[in-house]
């Protein structure tokens, strides 16, 4: 467990998600990284069902790297790390918090190891429609983001380019503190929310004639 940075990898116009994922995987393999299996991070959103009260949201995230845990993140950013049985508790709250329909979003793909680094190339899908690509880069030997940001940035910039300059908000706020998986989940949630906000690209409207 080290420090993680998650980047949104752009899909240029005229290329399919699959093509970009493949070329990204190829460039990581060219570095000398070895495939070490698959990974998946998923997120479900629960919303208050009571009217006339303040709207609240609970996001429940799971990560295949931590199969016995469940990460519950509130709007305010408070992240509770709990046993995966927490999903059962959410079912008990169904009169208060209801799962938002079609809110299930996940990032799924190949995991690579390269020396002290771990790469995860994930295709993001919302209700089984492709949304984009997320690249996760982890530097394993360090748990203080401030101490290894330079290294992480250098590695990232060789793959994602200038985007690597920008620190994820989670890392910016706790450069001197111990980095945990909860922070990684917050980064994923931020990206997932951005994908959800994205308007569906206008498709060619046929007149039907």
């Amino acid at each position: 467990m080290g420090v993680v940075s998650v980047y949104m990898f752009p899909v240029p116009e005229g290329k399919s998600g699959q093509q970009v994922v493949e070329s990204l995987q190829k460039s990581i393999e060219l570095l000398g990284a070895t495939k070490t299996g698959n990974f998946c991070v998923d997120c479900e959103t629960f919303q208050t069902s009571i009217q006339n009260t303040q709207q609240r949201q609970v996001n429940i995230l799971h990560s295949s790297d931590h199969p016995a845990s469940c990460f519950a993140i509130l709007d305010a950013g408070t992240c509770l790390v709990a046993d995966s049985l927490f999903d059962g508790l959410m079912q008990k709250l169904k009169h208060y918090y209801q799962q938002r329909k079609g809110s299930k979003i996940e990032s799924k793909g190949q995991r690579y190891e390269f020396g002290d680094f771990v790469f995860k190339v994930g295709s993001v899908s919302l209700a089984s429609s492709f949304k984009g690509i997320l690249l996760e880069i982890e530097y394993c030997p360090c748990i203080i983001a401030g101490d290894c940001w330079g290294l992480l940035k250098e590695m990232a910039s060789s793959i994602v380019g200038n985007v690597a300059e920008q620190q994820p908000n989670v890392i910016k706020n706790k450069l001197e503190h111990v980095y945990t998986t909860a922070d990684t989940m917050c980064q994923y949630l931020e990206h997932f929310n951005n994908y959800k906000k994205q308007t569906i690209p206008p498709t060619a409207v046929s007149t039907g004639r």
Binding site: I50, T53, H62, C70, L80, A82, L89
Partner: protein
């Protein structure tokens, strides 16, 4: 990805049903019971394992009648102070059943969690309903768990120093419980047999909690 919880439920390996027998013993006879339990339970050569927990009961209340309040019990160890001991416990409605069933049965979820759970529940809309401290001893025999404990009111200052706290009664609560996957009714017979061995020192029974709340 299918989460481990739903996999656990599907294959019926997630423990979520609690079988429970309860009783009480006067403080003056506690030592005799501890001695007896030490002989009957596993690890007889070791001294009984003490525990001292703080429990906070949080309630989520709805505006409409169909929304029954939901209670989450948050517990942590006070002595030894341990940040990894935080957990949430959800207890369902107890089923007393008929005479053929020897124990009380209720849904039970024990979920270990991080130490920011109090802040998390408050932000989710839960309110602290009541809190207390429990101090006692813990035994196990196979998968049966026996606790002999005393309940204390929280000190008005909010401190958890046991010397300043007021005991609720002059007796100890004795609980025999097993949390198991659904449908393992035979465990109730094992518990009944074990309870028989503690007679006449203590009578462990299924206590109908609905009747207690009415009185």
């Amino acid at each position: 990805m299918e989460n481990t919880f739903s996999v656990g439920l599907k294959h019926n390996i997630a423990p979520h049903q609690e079988f429970l027998l309860q009783g009480s013993i006067l403080d003056s006879h506690k030592e005799v019971l501890l001695h007896r339990l030490r002989g009957l339970c596993d690890n007889a050569e070791k001294a009984p394992e003490p525990f001292y927990d703080h429990e906070m009961v949080f309630m989520l209340r709805g505006a409409t009648a169909q929304q029954n309040p939901v209670l989450f019990r948050v517990r942590r160890s006070v002595e030894p102070r341990d940040d990894t001991s935080w957990h949430i416990r959800y207890l369902g409605t107890s089923e007393v059943g008929d005479k053929s069933r020897h124990t009380l049965v209720r849904a039970c979820f024990d979920v270990a969690c991080s130490n920011n759970v109090v802040q998390f529940l408050n932000e989710m809309g839960f309110k602290l309903d009541h809190e207390y401290c429990v101090k006692g001893y813990f035994f196990h025999k196979g998968r049966m768990k026996v606790t002999v404990s005393k309940i204390f009111r929280m000190a008005p200052s909010g401190g958890s120093d046991i010397n300043t706290q007021e005991a609720m009664s002059h007796s100890h609560l004795v609980e025999l419980s097993v949390v198991a996957p659904a449908g393992q009714e035979q465990i109730a017979d094992d518990m009944k047999n074990f309870a028989e061995q503690l007679k006449p020192l203590i009578q462990l029974e299924k206590v109908d909690q609905k009747r207690l709340s009415v009185q």
